[in-house]
Assembly symmetry: D3
């Protein structure tokens, strides 16, 4: 009996979409107002989906206390109330939500012995969300 | 032409996460405050997803009146405004949302001749949700 | 310059609407399925609205850390994951959301020296909410 | 590295569920109050999900400006603030959300050279949603 | 002890904003695409706020069953799945949400002997809402 | 006949809560992680509430096109995708939501000849919101 568990977290961060390998004009064309010089910010809503066999003793897929500890330590402590452009994870790259979703997946995927990280869903605004479910290299 | 239809229902119930096969200390450690002696409760949001071929005569996958009748009879009448620990479906088991999602799937899966129950999604709080899509025994 | 600040909290609890001063039949008639013998539960969403002068030094009405501490201590520790019928605050009374909102207002109203508790809003389900803004005795 | 991007749009339209190939009585039985003679309406929430390889230069799956232009031109200009029964896309058919989701998928599916339209999700009300992910003929 | 109770309902209807006392050009200028010839529609979310003294016997402001009956009979049966332009309540007037909110207030205000209708809030879309709290003539 | 109209907008911005008149240690104590050196960001949800007499010719309180133009020009063009600390409106002050709500009220209050700006509600996150309804000096 396999169940998917999804738990929602939130954090706030600032970023500026800007790639130093592009010219100023290209940056402006590619990123529009997201390239504004001094950045802007978002309340990110993060959904972590785990799957696993329901433990017949506890009736649960994963202890939520463990999940909260891992997500706090690996994700929230790292990105909450920070400027993403200054984080080493984004050195030389624009901190788009696509790449942030992939980063979070990589940070979490080995951390749950009895469950599998199925998917990361990152909601940037109520209009836009991004999902990453593994499979693919971050720098092809 | 196959379409997925998802319809949302809600019900309120109380439960206490407690497994009589575990010691008091183990119960407390496994379930935390969800093991508090006199229980607590939730507004459950239930999403039932059916899939099927769109009937060329009606343009619909499933008559919503039929779906509502089945869900009311099989799920809402059974669990709404009840204490889940006292329901026979949970005899000898902790009424976790994982097991409740599986139960609801089993109660509905044979009831729609022209459509298939694809998935049950049960939102326990706005932070936690559980999905079950079949495949696996309830007591392994 | 006076601003209203509203901060949202949530907790889960069970209750049964039942007044021992009424007959079984009256209880059933007044409270309907909310009178079911073994109770049911809700995820309560609580909004606390404070008003006050914006401190010219900090630009804030109230320190949110202080607000969180007070609400955790006075409200969440008291009611979260509990059976409301067993709480002393509801001895001899049905634990309706009307009375719970009033109780929470009373628990908080003297706790903020520089701000005023304007209103408590308690959402019992996404369909029903209750507001109490002071003024009136709890047992008239 | 493949990411799914979902962007949400909304539009308002009226419709009447009615199929001229059915008798008045059959229409009433099949569609219930949705068959009321002068129609009713909805705020549709539309979610378009694209998938694709993250462009290593931009860190993005698809330019959101391009996506907005295509959806505005192909979907919103066509259906927003219109009566769906009078649109040529629904000639001879009841404008159900199942068929509307399929129509929107067909209108969008060839328009993004570097990304794939994975899924259309159409929320008719907060209670009902419909998903179409391709595969199947519209008139079988 | 006075508490405000708010209960939420929803209905779907179509309308066209058009005033026959205005020229075609004026109608188009005043109402924009809401004047499109064949109408469009909305899912209206209706919030009814009652206030009253909490009954010391029941702990409640108003019986919700009574409230539901009155709102179903006076509002939902009248407007749900209808074309508002064809309702007698809007003869000679454009069925704007401002006027609809006022109409609903008038339909409900005398119906609750022990509670007062404080406010009607009508959400036309997730972006727009309208509140009417009495006081003023509908045709000045 | 007086109706309140509320319309919702959103924008994204970054800020750092920091007051140069305070020491580094005081800033850290007062603002906590909101004082992190390189800032963070939010998706702000802005609700503008206008009140006015319903125009008997149009059935409306205020033309929504006019409202959108004013809010776009005065608020969104100014703050969307910007770093609030660098805006002249916040020179010498921490850009808290309390002060931002007041600023937006001041920017809008004289702009609607036939309607009154009743209230600005600014939602900083889904947990926190701030309301300003006029009356009081910004620097007392």
């Amino acid at each position: 009996m396999k169940v998917h568990l999804t738990r929602r977290y939130s954090f706030s961060a600032s970023h500026r979409l800007h790639n130093e390998a592009l010219s100023a004009e290209e940056n402006r064309r590619v990123y529009g107002k997201c390239n504004n010089a001094y950045g802007h910010g978002h309340n990110y809503s993060l959904e972590v989906t785990l799957s696993g066999r329901v433990d017949p003793r506890t009736g649960m897929v994963c202890d939520l206390g463990l999940l909260d500890n891992v997500v706090s330590h690996e994700v929230l402590d790292r990105f909450d109330h920070e400027n993403l452009n200054l984080r080493p994870e984004f050195a030389g790259r624009a901190p788009t939500s696509e790449i942030l979703a992939k980063q979070i997946f990589e940070l979490l995927k080995e951390r749950f012995p009895a469950a599998q990280v199925e998917k990361i869903r990152l909601e940037e605004t109520s209009q836009n969300s991004f999902e990453y479910a593994g499979g693919g290299e971050i720098r092809p």
